[in-house]
Symmetry: C2
Subunit: 259 residues, 2 copies
């Protein structure tokens, strides 16, 4: 049977890759991913055919994975984080959908047994490093306007503000997109205090990890790049300092209940 695994490999730390993801990678003869992720696999990737495609070519990568699996090769398509969250899984199902609608010429794709293996997403890694930022209702917003018009993103930012959700920004910045995160900050400042805690996580759980705790007013595109996860607290999120350790957490609710 043709088999395609869609595998989330977590934020980077080998200790955060699930056994299920490791098994999928072990079973596969062919791995499809960015070269960068393939390097991270080290030993695990040995003896397998690596298919590396440059960043940005998501559709070609998904097609390649489907083609390889359809040809009988047990294939694993890898994304860092959770492959189901802003990653390759939805691209694969979009292509499958196109085939079902007769917009592709790849009937053999429909024979593939697809298995999705979730992974720890960047917002979870960042939250765990600083405490419990995602302790109450939260949302995620991608600031990339390549596939979503900026007006839709802006509307969503207002909704996130009005609903007082903790907000995690994915794709906060790229070489060509440098102003979006500052605009997002300004919109959220209409709804929550300037001193709202903000966590910047970069290269999470990797050797060169950096975590910065700042405030919403001080959030600035200059300190954000395409590898940064930005999480903004809600109106109740608190930063606490215990000696040289700082924590950020969002309480479970809004009632000032006696603990």
């Amino acid at each position: 049977m043709q088999k395609l695994y869609l595998v989330g490999t977590g934020p980077g730390d080998r200790e955060l890759i699930t056994p299920k993801a490791l098994s999928a990678i072990k079973n596969a003869t062919d791995l499809v991913a960015y070269g960068f992720y393939l390097d991270l696999l080290g030993e695990l990737g040995r003896g397998k055919t690596h298919h590396d495609l440059p960043l940005g070519e998501e559709i070609q990568r998904a097609r390649l994975a489907l083609e390889l699996a359809a040809s009988g090769k047990t294939t694993a398509l890898l994304s860092s984080g959770d492959i189901g969250i802003y990653a390759m899984a939805s691209v694969v199902f979009e292509l499958l959908d196109r085939q079902l609608q007769g917009q592709e010429n790849a009937a053999q794709w429909l024979e593939i047994d697809i298995e999705v293996v979730p992974g720890i997403s960047a917002m979870q890694a960042a939250a765990s490093k600083v405490g419990a930022m995602l302790g109450h209702d939260f949302c995620t917003i991608s600031l990339s306007d390549l596939l979503t018009p900026w007006e839709s993103i802006e509307k969503r930012l207002h909704s996130a503000g009005a609903g007082d959700f903790v907000v995690s920004f994915y794709n906060p910045r790229s070489k060509k997109r440098d102003w979006q995160i500052n605009t997002a900050r300004d919109i959220l400042l209409e709804y929550r205090p300037a001193e709202t805690p903000v966590v910047l996580g970069r290269q999470l759980s990797r050797a060169d990890e950096s975590i910065t705790v700042t405030t919403l007013a001080e959030l600035n595109a200059n300190e954000v790049d395409m590898f940064t996860l930005v999480s903004v607290g809600n109106s109740e999120t608190r930063k606490i300092v215990n000696g040289d350790k700082q924590w950020v957490y969002t309480p479970r609710g809004y009632k000032k209940k006696l603990v």
Copy 2:
């Protein structure tokens, strides 16, 4: 050094517990959790002191974990899913915060080295089982009004609707709370189509797992219990059927870009 691990053990499947979580459990001499979760550990839990407290006693459980760690016992406080998402981690930091504000009498808590280990949350497990429901912007809303007034939750439901977020409901129902999920459905129906796909995941990744795909109009409290994760698609989420297999995915964006 006093050590307290806050560990997310994932949705239930042993293959979805991270190696980091397993190491934390192995290092601990004392485990604090619901009896139910302790049972799931099987072998892993052997030779350790188990501290079981009934469901609902979150604060006592967090206090107990802090007290055990402060007394010098390497302790792991466990939650299923991600301990940072609607779970015990924020309760522990709330207590620490109270101590820092002089509202507790437990100075030794401040000496504890706390380490948070994230886990796969229920929404991720559900999404992976049906495809890629979380492929674009999403939010989570707890429908429990024990600690958050219903008016706040209702406001948030409207924000989620207006922002067209994929919505995952945690704590959708309990014995005493039976109408909230139906009200949530009615609010979302003001913003998105009746046929919007909805996924109900119960006992995810466990032996008695059940996954149901329905529509927003058909979502009903009768089919939901306290172990159910409910995820509602956004206006672009699609259900596709390939033979006897059905998938639900949310496309990456809103532009009808040629794939």
